[in-house]
């Protein structure tokens, strides 16, 4: 089936060419980072995780969101998702690949990465994260590829694949739960230490992932003859609305607990993210994430309004805008604020701000483009197979 990815028009090849050149640029910057050390990034002793880990965290969510298609389709026999479930699974493959790449780029000694397997450590959450992420990648590759292959051959998927399908459902929840555990089990990091971190991760994931998927599906409709169908898209919109509302509800809970309890440790990071935090000693106010976080809130509200209004929801142009706003709102919230904010202030209550370096940004873009490259290839194959199968039947 893979040969389908080798046939395409000029637009397809120029898109692939663009992705490859961005990947090359990212790889070049990575070589610089590998030789110099992670000091080439904007990370510091006080903000010891940066863009890489925050992108990783966000993308675990996008990967997990495939379950919002798999579950209704396979468990509740929701037929309308039959045409796009594979697109969700392939999005999960691309996202998990990005996650793994982001972890690798973040390691100080990437060559020793296998130490995690050579010295298995069940009391480390990172060990479990390694297991659930690789397991999820495996499940989606198997399920997605087998399902597509049977469609290619005009048969039903073999029976043996169903246990993997059902396993992938709780597994999707597990990847984001374990990723939340990375943060919420750390003493002395007040902002992360909240029991609703895992549910909040899941809620934002189930809004951001389907939002991206709708954009992709509409792009596919524009550039090929493959149409996912309005019913499927409408169902996804419903998922986004509820997940988005629950996410904002959770954010509200965090704000209430922080500010009503009036416990300084619980307010510091919220202050830093939304209003700016003054330094103990100098009185200088640090606020470089405030514009971002406020934009995130505004985008989220506008997006929910657009989704909520029937007129805008049914207009595909406005629908794309709503989805994009939701996706970027949550990307800022989780892909920037959550990880970076957790380090401000540090355990000794010093404030250090983080600004990514230029090579760091290019490496990040390179990884994103690698993900989109994988996604492009997989979608090309899937859509070619599906349109051919439909033409034949």
């Amino acid at each position: 089936m893979l040969e389908k990815a080798l046939q395409g028009n000029a637009k397809y090849w120029s898109w692939v060419g663009f992705l490859l050149s961005m990947m090359g640029l990212g790889a070049f910057c990575y070589v610089l980072q590998f030789n110099y050390g992670l000091g080439l990034t904007g990370m510091s002793r006080n903000v010891s995780w940066g863009l890489y880990i925050s992108q990783f965290t966000f993308l675990v969510g996008v990967a997990a969101s495939a379950v919002m298609l798999v579950l209704p389709y396979y468990l509740h026999n929701f037929k309308e998702f039959g045409r796009i479930t594979i697109l969700g699974e392939f999005l999960a493959i691309a996202s998990v690949s990005m996650c793994l790449l982001f972890i690798m780029t973040d390691l100080g000694q990437p060559i020793r990465a296998l130490n995690v397997v050579l010295h298995p450590t069940p009391h480390s959450i990172l060990f479990w994260d390694m297991i659930v992420l690789n397991g999820y990648l495996f499940l989606n590759v198997v399920v997605g590829w087998v399902a597509l292959n049977s469609e290619y051959k005009g048969t039903h998927p073999p029976k043996w694949v169903y246990p993997f399908v059902y396993l992938s459902i709780p597994w999707a929840v597990s990847i984001h739960t374990v990723t939340a555990f990375l943060y919420c089990g750390l003493p002395g990091r007040h902002f992360w230490m909240t029991a609703i971190l895992a549910p909040r991760f899941l809620a934002s994931a189930f809004a951001a992932g389907p939002a991206l998927l709708i954009i992709l599906v509409l792009l596919v409709r524009k550039f090929s003859s493959f149409d996912a169908g309005d019913k499927a898209i409408n169902k996804l919109v419903t998922v986004i609305i509820y997940a988005g509302l629950i996410n904002f509800f959770f954010v509200g809970l965090e704000l209430f607990v922080g500010y009503y309890s009036n416990i300084p440790g619980h307010m510091h990071t919220l202050d830093y993210l939304f209003f700016g935090l003054a330094d103990h000693d100098t009185g200088i106010i640090y606020n470089n994430l405030v514009p971002w976080m406020r934009t995130s809130v505004i985008m989220g509200v506008i997006s929910l309004a657009l989704f909520g209004c029937k007129k805008t929801r049914n207009n595909s142009g406005m629908l794309i805008v709503a989805c994009a706003l939701m996706f970027f709102s949550l990307w800022i919230d989780k892909g920037l604020g959550l990880v970076l904010g957790g380090f401000v202030p540090n355990p000794l209550e010093y404030i250090t701000e983080y600004v990514p370096s230029i090579p760091e940004i290019f490496i990040t873009l390179g990884v994103w483009c690698t993900g989109f490259f994988i996604l492009t290839i997989l979608y090309k194959v899937a859509i070619s197979v599906k349109t051919e199968a439909e033409r034949l039947s």
Partner: protein
């Protein structure tokens, strides 16, 4: 080798089983952490260590056996002897080839000075005596009895040794920096760049100790309580540097007859962030 493989297979098998249920994983996590309801864990300024040294406390869960090295820092003695803290820092950093990178971002440090407000941010700073605010506190790795960094490390590159010292195995560290996020004391430094490098013709390592290696870029490092020297019956370098000022007292917290236990019994001491349940082994007489 065979034994190792068997151990690996065992752990891998167990892991796979536990992986199906997150509760199992959680249980493993919580092991040894169940003392949260002990009467000493609630943020009172007295260190939990006093009581543990006596070994009582049936509802503490298990009482830790074996050695547990600890350190008492007398802040007033440091205050009375100007330059003493700096002497301790140099003694440490020169022994372990700790680089002085020269900027806050890439900074590497094992022991350093902090004002009261930053060493003890969880304490009230309102209307405290002025002397306190002029004091500086030496801070370093607390060699916690329940170290969060050890829990977090995915390769056991950081681990607790048989003397209760939280060690770093630089050979094994993959540089994921999970331990840095986990440490509530900011005691860990990452080698953001090659510590053997230099800037403007000046090397980061100001004095080379040929008996200890340097580090490489991409690994985390921190104080090791001079584990190697202790085995030779010597004191940690910082303690040695205080001479006979008694500004630092070092010894086995689990030995009621040790000097450090006696000092703790007869003085009011505080620990950093006792409410977190990490049970720090560094105490301060203020």
């Amino acid at each position: 080798m065979d034994n190792k493989r068997r151990k690996f297979l065992k752990i891998a098998g167990l892991s796979a089983i536990a992986g199906i249920g997150a509760p199992a994983a959680l249980n493993m996590l919580m092991k040894g952490n169940v003392q949260a309801s002990s009467p000493h864990g609630h943020g009172d300024d007295h260190g939990g260590g006093h009581e543990e040294a006596k070994g009582h406390g049936a509802h503490h869960g298990e009482v830790k056996q074996g050695k547990r090295y600890g350190l008492v820092i007398d802040v007033h003695k440091f205050n009375q002897t100007p330059g003493l803290a700096q002497k301790c820092i140099s003694a440490c950093h020169d022994t372990f080839n700790v680089p002085d990178i020269g900027n806050k971002k890439d900074e590497v440090k094992w022991i350093w000075e902090e004002p009261y407000t930053h060493a003890f941010p969880e304490h009230s700073h309102y209307k405290r005596n002025t002397e306190l605010h002029h004091l500086s506190f030496l801070v370093t790795c607390n060699h916690c009895d329940d170290p969060p960094c050890v829990r977090a490390c995915p390769t056991q590159a950081t681990f607790k040794n048989e003397d209760g010292i939280v060690m770093m195995d630089f050979h094994r560290c993959i540089g994921c920096r999970f331990c840095m996020a986990a440490c509530p004391y900011g005691s860990r430094s990452f080698n953001w760049r090659d510590p053997r490098g230099m800037k403007d013709g000046k090397p980061f390592i100001k004095k080379v100790n040929p008996e200890f290696p340097t580090r490489m870029r991409g690994v985390v490092e921190k104080c090791n309580f001079c584990a190697g020297l202790l085995k030779k019956g010597l004191l940690p370098k910082c303690v040695e540097a205080t001479g006979d000022t008694k500004a630092m007292v070092f010894g086995d917290l689990n030995d009621p007859a040790s000097e450090v236990s006696k000092v703790l019994k007869s003085h009011f001491t505080i620990q950093r962030k006792p409410a977190l349940g990490t049970k720090p082994s560094v105490f301060y007489i203020i």
